[in-house]
């Protein structure tokens, strides 16, 4: 490791794989990154995979204790809306805006992940035959590009119900 010749010096990769280094080594995975992974889904669209009432309830931010741990002000913000559009259409629209912003895009049938100056994860779950719930999670400092660039483009897709709820 102390070899002054950079060509003969051990590389970081070699260090990481060396048995001496690995003894007792614990790889630290920043847990926040798990939130931005695609979750495995059956992919089937039958009724039992529709969100049920408790799924909706568990979206509540009051139940999400992970914000107790946001140490340095880099919080994960979560926003949701309902849409009568198909998941494909919604993902398409988001991808359009993302490409304009020069962000890197990864997607599957249920969601899309964007990486650029911030990370954003969108997951879409079916609520009823007609409606889906779109969950938008983002993490990053600085301007809220979601609010500035994405939201205006997606407003047309948001479902507005005709009648208010009877309490």
């Amino acid at each position: 490791m102390l070899d002054p010749n950079p060509h003969k010096r051990i590389t970081v990769n070699e260090i990481l794989n060396d048995p001496w280094f690995r003894k007792g080594y614990r790889e630290i995975e920043y847990p926040v990154d798990n939130e931005f992974d695609f979750k495995n889904s059956g992919g089937d669209m039958d009724e039992s995979s529709f969100l049920n009432a408790f799924d909706i309830i568990s979206y509540s931010s009051g139940f999400d204790l992970s914000n107790l741990f946001s140490n340095n002000g880099i919080r994960v913000t979560c926003e949701m809306f309902i849409s009568a559009e198909s998941p494909e259409r919604i993902i398409e629209k988001i991808e359009e805006v993302a490409k304009d912003e020069g962000m890197r895009v990864t997607k599957n049938e249920k969601g899309i992940r964007l990486q650029g100056s911030f990370v954003m994860m969108v997951e879409i779950n079916r609520l009823t035959e007609e409606l889906v719930v779109v969950e938008v999670k983002r993490r990053g400092l600085g301007r809220d590009i979601w609010k500035e660039k994405f939201k205006p483009q997606l407003n047309a897709l948001i479902y507005q119900s005709e009648r208010q709820v009877r309490r």
Binding site: P31, S48, F54, D55, S60, F63, F69, R75, L131, S161
Partner: protein, 226 residues
């Protein structure tokens, strides 16, 4: 020479312990991390790191070593202006002594259930109690509706009453296998086994790496480095 160093070390640790005991005299102070570690899923280091988090949260409004409802809301929402049915429920469940404040023991014991290694039965139990708003031992349809409506309002989502009713209908059809209009603990457990994602809020990955998020616990550690 070595004995001399040892002597200095003992002197220093005595000094440090002397100062530290002042901190731990506060109410809810970390008197016995080993005992808490034994009774929870946490290791002693994790308890100490958790205590750092606790100190941060509990000193936000009143620096008394205890978390009151306002400090809890502040920690969750970064604002004390947000009223939340759910945060209230969570706070009440944490507050085993029912005195309106959380001491470190209540905090640690409750969070232990959210650890990835905690037994799933504990998570099922906690979530059932969370949703059982009136604490009658079963979850009623009306309670479910109340929570659904509150969640939708909170997140600015809009659904007609008909749609909400039909979603709850379908949920109860699946969950209420005894057809008595309520979901009891057993029915809840069966539902959750079929839909594990319902417990997603009951596991906080952050707890697994809390010693890295709050490394300053080593300065106050009472435990030997083994």
């Amino acid at each position: 020479m070595v004995q001399c160093l040892d002597g200095v070390k003992h002197l220093l640790s005595a000094l440090v312990n002397c100062c530290d005991s002042e901190i731990y005299k506060q109410p809810g102070g970390l008197e016995n991390p080993e005992a808490l570690a034994r009774e929870t899923v946490f290791s002693v280091s994790e308890i100490e790191a958790l205590y750092e988090l606790f100190k941060k949260i509990s000193s936000a409004v009143i620096d008394d070593g205890l978390i009151n409802k306002e400090e809890f809301q502040l920690a969750l929402f970064k604002t004390n202006k947000k009223e939340s049915l759910f945060a209230d429920r969570v706070f009440d469940l944490f507050d085993k002594k029912h005195n309106g404040i959380l001491d470190f023991e209540e905090f640690a014991r409750a969070l232990s259930v959210f650890h990835p290694n905690a037994p799933i039965d504990d998570k099922i139990e906690f979530s059932f109690q969370l949703y059982d708003l009136k604490q009658q031992g079963f979850i009623e349809r009306q309670e479910v509706k109340q929570m659904v409506v509150a969640t939708l309002a909170e997140s600015g989502m809009n659904l007609s009453d008909d749609v909400i009713e039909s979603i709850i209908d379908k949920t109860f059809e699946e969950a209420d296998t005894k057809h008595d209009g309520k979901i009891d603990k057993e029915e809840w457990r069966n539902l959750v086994m079929r839909h594990p994602s319902l417990l997603k809020n009951m596991t906080l990955q952050y707890l697994k790496d809390i010693t890295t998020t709050f490394p300053s616990f080593v300065f106050h550690s009472q435990v030997d480095d083994t």
